[in-house]
Symmetry: C2
Subunit: 200 residues, 2 copies
């Protein structure tokens, strides 16, 4: 798997337009704002298998048609865009979205909300905690995308999110190899560990 650098632009002469706030998060994990039809040729280059959509509004028919044509599965977790969203509800949605996000069977995967700032930023922030990133680096990444629209409520949510509680409901083990070093993406069986209280 390599990046696309195609000097022989037969049918690929068209300039590609990534959605605003597009970025690669990890191998086969991408983030962005809401894609419009102008972004579809670019999205095709990602060979997506799934999309996580974090808004409650129905997915536009044009986007659904694109997903059908590309055989991309849509996972929708309807999180309100307002700042006064209930923390327990947000926590449940982010938890469910995280389970889909880290499951390599859904990769390559794109996460998006409307602007790719707050809801997407919260999900990626929680993923970074799962990856053991220090909080200041998690916040720096959140703010790079949120810019002037950074929300303290999001940062607090990410800080309080208890990644250990995720392990209660994961169910299988997937080993990942990269080069000579073994990387693992481990899903603990929910019966393997005693459920514990989370920080929420």
């Amino acid at each position: 798997m390599g990046m696309i650098v195609d000097f022989e632009n037969d049918q690929n002469d068209a300039v590609l337009v990534p959605p605003p706030n597009f970025a690669m998060v990890e191998d086969c994990v991408f983030r962005s704002s809401f894609p419009t039809p102008s972004n579809f040729p670019f999205l095709q280059t990602l060979n997506l298998r799934s999309i996580i959509y974090l808004c409650p509004e129905p997915y536009p028919e044009g986007n659904l048609e694109f997903l059908r044509s590309q055989n991309i599965r849509l996972f929708q977790f309807g999180i309100e865009g307002k700042t006064d969203v209930s923390i327990p509800v947000l926590k449940d949605s982010i938890m469910d979205a995280l389970k889909v996000l880290i499951d390599v069977r859904n990769h390559p995967i794109l996460v998006h909300c409307k602007r790719g700032k707050h809801r997407t930023g919260c999900l990626v922030g929680c993923l970074r905690k799962l990856q053991n990133w220090c909080l200041s680096s998690v916040f720096e990444e959140y703010q790079r995308f949120a810019g002037a629209k950074s929300r303290t409520t999001d940062l607090t949510f990410i800080e309080m999110f208890d990644v250990l509680s995720l392990s209660q409901c994961l169910y299988s083990i997937i080993y990942q190899y990269h080069g000579s070093k073994k990387r693992r993406l481990l899903y603990k069986d929910e019966n393997l560990q005693k459920p514990r209280l989370t920080s929420f």
Copy 2:
């Protein structure tokens, strides 16, 4: 190859500290500010084969020691950090750095300068042009990392950079496969095409 999500933190209990402005650019291509020893445990998780360093100052001994211990090769292209850097000199350095950057034999690879804003932003911006990204998306990504320090001279440099001139001096063909779709990273032999004048 998958992202690192390790629930079984035997020796990996330590919180990881990515360098400021760290991000994944493409499969096996990363960018950041200057890494310090506190970032070494995080960098180890990337299994780097190479680093592109874009400053003229000598690499610190502690960093060189880390590179030796991890068998990471250093490619240095000394670009001055000032804004009045000569455009032809900058163009040559960026061109040489791009050749190293897109060569999959050097991957996984990290690009960094001092703050991961201007010199790194120029190199990544030129890579995006090579990938056929529209200019507004290239600029948006540049500005996400440069923030308030965004420089018009950098944006103009990226805009004027002629990616076709790169094909004059590339020399081999590497085919890349991803899933069922073929992606190619094509290096044209410099004798295959007549050299052409660049936009500089």
